[in-house]
Symmetry: C2
Subunit: 292 residues, 2 copies
C-alpha cells in the first residue's frame, strides 16, 4: 500500500495501517449516554432513502398516463445467456439500472411449494385480521376462476377475460395490455427477486375471428387498504401443449390515489406520495422475505 496516496486496499491481512484519526477515542470508564431524542442527523434531517427515491421517481413519471396499472411481481432475474439467476457483487436488495438490464430477463414464476407457502401465509393473515381482537384493517379474500382468450388483431393483441363458471365477460374484460416501463429489483438475501411494472390496459371492443391461445387462471385475491395481492395459478393452452405457472403480484387497487398525491406535489401541497410508495414496497418486500 502506498503511503503517498490515501488509497485503502481491500486486503484485510494488511493489519497495520496509517490512520487519519488523531483524536483517538477516549475509552473512559463512563460510556456516553445515548440521547433520549436522537436527531435524524447532524443536519437535523433524514435523507430520502435512495432506493425509495428511485422507485418514487420511476412511478412519478408513469402514474399520470391513461389506464395505467402498477404492479410488482415476484420472480427471478435470469441471465439471458446462462439462464441462471443473475449474480451481482452486491450485498443487499438493489434496483437494477433500466439502462443496463438488457442482459437479463425476469421470470415471474415460482415453485408449487412456494406458491402453497404464500397461500398459507396469506390465509393465516386473512384469519388473523378477521379476529375480533384485531386492531387494524381486515384483509378481504376472493377466489376467482377466469379464462383469458388472446386475439392477435392488426391493432395488436387483445385479451378477453371471462368468468369460467358463467362464461360472461368480466367488467373491463376486453383490453389491450401495453407495457410502459419496468424496474427490476435484485434481492440477493431472499429466494425471489421482483419487478415493478407499469402497464396500460386499454379498453377495446370485442375482437373478431378466432383467438390464438388461451389461459386459465385460478386466482386468490387478498385485498388490504390500497393494495391487492394476487396469487395465481396459470395454465396456458397453446395448441396441444400446456404449461402451468405460479405467480404472485401486488398491485394498487386504484393507482389514481398515487396520481392524486403526485398532483399535490406539483401544486406544492402537503402530500403522502412517498408514504404510499413505501407502503407498496413494504408489501412486496414482506412477501419476498417470506419466500421459502
Amino acid at each position: 500500500m502506498s503511503k503517498r496516496r490515501r488509497v485503502e486496499d481491500n486486503e484485510k491481512e494488511s493489519g497495520n495501517e496509517e490512520s487519519t484519526n488523531g483524536l483517538v477515542q477516549r475509552q473512559s470508564p463512563e460510556i456516553q449516554l445515548l440521547p433520549a431524542a436522537l436527531e435524524h442527523s447532524i443536519f437535523g434531517v433524514q435523507p430520502t432513502n435512495d432506493f425509495v427515491r428511485v422507485v418514487s421517481d420511476f412511478l412519478y413519471m408513469q402514474v399520470g398516463k391513461e389506464n395505467v396499472e402498477i404492479e410488482a411481481k415476484l420472480g427471478v432475474l435470469l441471465d439471458k445467456k446462462t439462464r441462471e439467476r443473475i449474480r451481482l457483487p452486491v450485498y443487499c436488495e438493489t434496483v437494477i439500472s433500466p439502462y443496463d438490464d438488457r442482459w437479463m430477463i425476469f421470470e415471474s414464476n415460482m415453485t408449487l411449494e412456494q406458491h402453497k407457502s404464500f397461500n398459507n401465509l396469506l390465509n393465516n393473515r386473512f384469519i388473523e385480521t378477521k379476529s375480533p381482537s384485531h386492531k387494524g384493517q381486515p384483509v378481504e379474500y376472493k377466489h376467482t376462476y377466469e379464462i383469458d382468450k388472446f386475439y392477435d388483431t392488426k391493432d395488436g393483441r387483445i385479451r378477453v377475460t371471462r368468468d369460467r363458471k358463467t362464461g360472461e365477460i368480466v367488467e373491463g374484460g376486453i383490453v389491450q395490455k401495453v407495457r410502459i416501463a419496468d424496474l427490476n429489483i435484485y434481492s440477493p438475501n431472499t429466494k425471489l427477486d421482483y419487478r415493478i411494472s407499469v402497464n396500460a390496459e386499454i379498453p377495446k371492443k370485442m375482437p373478431e375471428g378466432p383467438h390464438s391461445f388461451e389461459r386459465n387462471k385460478d386466482r386468490l385475491s387478498y385485498t388490504h387498504q390500497i393494495v391487492k395481492v394476487d396469487l395465481t395459478q396459470v395454465k396456458v393452452t397453446d395448441g396441444g401443449s400446456q404449461d402451468l405457472t405460479h405467480e404472485l403480484e401486488v398491485e394498487f387497487i386504484d393507482p389514481r390515489i398515487l396520481l392524486e398525491e403526485k398532483l399535490k406535489i406539483e401544486n406544492r401541497q402537503e402530500n403522502r406520495y412517498v408514504e404510499i410508495v413505501e407502503h407498496f414496497l413494504n408489501n412486496i418486500r414482506m412477501l419476498a422475505k417470506n419466500a421459502i
Copy 2:
C-alpha cells in the same frame, strides 16, 4: 417472447403482452380514498430495510471487540485495473459484497473544492444550531493541528500523535491501528461513495528509534450528539516528496453506546440498536448527497 413460459423480456418495444391480470382496474369516476392511517403492509408490519439490516449485522459482529472505532469515510470506489470509479448495473446506493470486492480499492480522498464545500456546509450548520431559535442539539466545533509520526517496529506500525503547537502527545496518542473489517458502499447517484470501517486502536508504549514517515493533519471536527464529523487536510511527508489529501469521515464519539444496545438485544431487552445504525447512516448519506 414465448407464450409458454411466463418470461418477461426487457425489450420495451414489444408493446403487446399477455397479462396475468384478469381483474382489470375498474376506473370508476370516484377515486379510492386514501386511508388516513395507512398500515405498514398487509401484514401490519414493515420489513427491516435490507441495506440497514446488512450494515447492522456487519457492525453487530465487530462492536464488542476491544478498542474498536467505527467510522465511515467519503471517497471513491475505484476499479483496480482501470483506476476509474467502478460501474455496476445498479440504480441506487448499495452495499458491495465483502466476498466480491477484491477487484476494487477505496480512495478516501476528494477535491479541494469538495472539501471547501463541506467546510461551508458544516460551518453553516454549526452557526444555525447556535442560533437562539434553534430547537435541536447544537453542533460543536474544534480546529486541531496535529502531527502523526509513524514508527515501523517489530510488532507492527505504531502511530504517535502530537499537538503541533505544544509538541505534546495527545491523549491516547500512541496506538497501533489494526484494520478489522470494511464494508464498501457504492452510491451511483452521488459524487462520492463511502466505506464503513471498523478498526482497533490498540494503546502502545512510546516506540524507540527513528520514525519512518510523518503526516500533518489540519482538522475541523464537528460533533453532534453521538457522532463526530472530521474534515481533514492531510499532508504526508515521506523523504523529499509531499502529498496532500482531503478527507471526510463520520465516526461514533463512543462506539460503546452501540455495544450497549447490542447487549440489550442479547438479553432480549428493548433496544435502539437499529436507530443508532440509521442515525450513523443518515449522517454519512447526508454528506454524500451534498458532495459537489
